[in-house]
Amino acid sequence: MEQGAGADGERLARAIAAGDRRAEHDLVERFQRGVRVILRRAGASPAALDDLEQEVFRLAIVRLREGALQDPARLAGFMAGIARNVGLRSVRERVRHPAAGAGVAVQDSPAERDDPLGELLGREQATLVRQVLDELGGERDREVLRRLYLLGEPRERICAALGLAPRQLDHVLSRARQRYRALYQRKFTG
């Protein structure tokens, strides 16, 4: 969180409670990206993301207008909590009422599988990641990335498993990320 963001958030929350419509617009602008990430990570379907995002801000603004946030300095936690709850509720709804189909209820398919855009993204990213891996060369360095990004292992466990000192791990990660960022920028931002 940026310096002073808590105080800004507090001002925003108080302004909305006082009926300032411009502050509501600022709230959306400020938290939109974070809310979408939390919804996505909670398992919300990509197709429903816009509607769910609207629902998050509708709920937040209604409650802020009512002055329901007791500690306005905790605006970020308040927004994250609403986004998480709306995301999880959408997943529960999807499990309870799957789309009409063949009479066999197949539940809990990963959102990515129903998302052609996500699959395309995966393929494009695979090309970049393959380049990074090729340049990294060593099997051990590849294993570092696999363990961190795919398996989500904590750093200390990766170091222990691969016999790396923390500084060596930092070096591998820093090299891989720098190379990835350069390739990504070249490909997607010219």
Partner: protein, 263 residues
């Protein structure tokens, strides 16, 4: 709610929070604390975006790997007879390369120890046959795994339901779901409609599953439900015949789910 400890970026990097958040391996308290920070932090949002992209790339590369066993075999598509035949064939085929290895070695010996070239050639042939043996063994292992999955399909718990007359009295028949069963099947004999709307209602009145266009065959309708939707308790399956926009009550079927004790 208690005020959470604020996070700084050194801490976030040292604990690899962005990467572990994306990989969904953070404990829930740490996840919530990170989200509270993340929702208002462009720097961490960038890091999460990057971790998502790298993860998607690594996952796509993993999927491209040519030889791997499926983590979750698509059990519905596995014909048992074909798999049994494949398994039997694997057993026979697996035996053949072993004989070839022996024969290749015998041939090499018969050509005399002085003939180094011939021995080397025979060793190469033996190595090739051994490779083939390893591949056949792998194929046999795969077939065994598929067969095991297919047997799991055969052992799916199935409950044939009879209509509950006059409302909700009586618990109805029991469905025992063995531990580890992925699905349970409800079968209902019906007549008169090609399409049905179905609702599965738990004993507390909540609708836990719904399907608005369920096709019937000549014998009735069958619904396969994930076993985890059916914890032990009482349920009602409510069917309505669908004719155009109209729906007509077609039956209520009460049943109970009981847990099978783990062996």
């Amino acid at each position: 709610m208690a005020r959470r400890m604020s996070m700084d970026h050194d801490q976030i990097e040292a604990r690899a929070l962005a990467e572990r958040y994306v990989a969904e391996t953070l404990p829930s308290a740490e996840r919530e604390a990170f989200e509270e920070h993340l929702v208002d932090c462009p720097r961490c949002l960038d890091q999460v975006d990057e971790a998502e992209r790298i993860r998607a790339g690594l996952a796509a590369l993993e999927e491209e790997r040519p030889v791997r066993l499926p983590a979750r075999p698509d059990v519905a598509r596995l014909p048992v007879r074909r798999l049994a035949l494949a398994l039997a064939a694997g057993l026979v085929i697996g035996a053949v390369p072993s004989l070839l290895v022996l024969r290749a070695l015998q041939e090499a010996r018969g050509q005399g120890a002085s003939a180094h070239g011939a021995v080397a050639e025979a060793q190469a042939r033996a190595a090739a046959v051994e490779r083939s043996l390893r591949e056949e063994r792998q194929a046999r292992t795969n077939a065994e795994a598929e067969l095991a999955a297919a047997e799991q399909v055969q052992s799916l718990p199935v409950l044939a339901l009879a209509e509950t007359r006059g409302g909700d009295e009586g618990p109805g028949p029991s469905l025992r779901i063995p531990p580890g069963a992925p699905f349970a099947v409800l079968a209902v004999e019906t007549g008169g409609y090609r399409l049905y709307a179905a609702q599965l209602i738990a004993s507390d009145g909540s609708v836990i599953w719904r399907e608005d266009r369920l096709s019937a065959n000549a014998f009735g309708v069958a619904v396969a439900l994930p076993a985890r939707l059916l914890p032990p308790g009482g349920y009602r399956l409510v069917l309505e015949g669908v004719s155009g926009d109209a729906r007509v009550a077609a039956g209520r079927f009460a049943f109970r789910v009981t847990a099978e004790p783990a062996r």
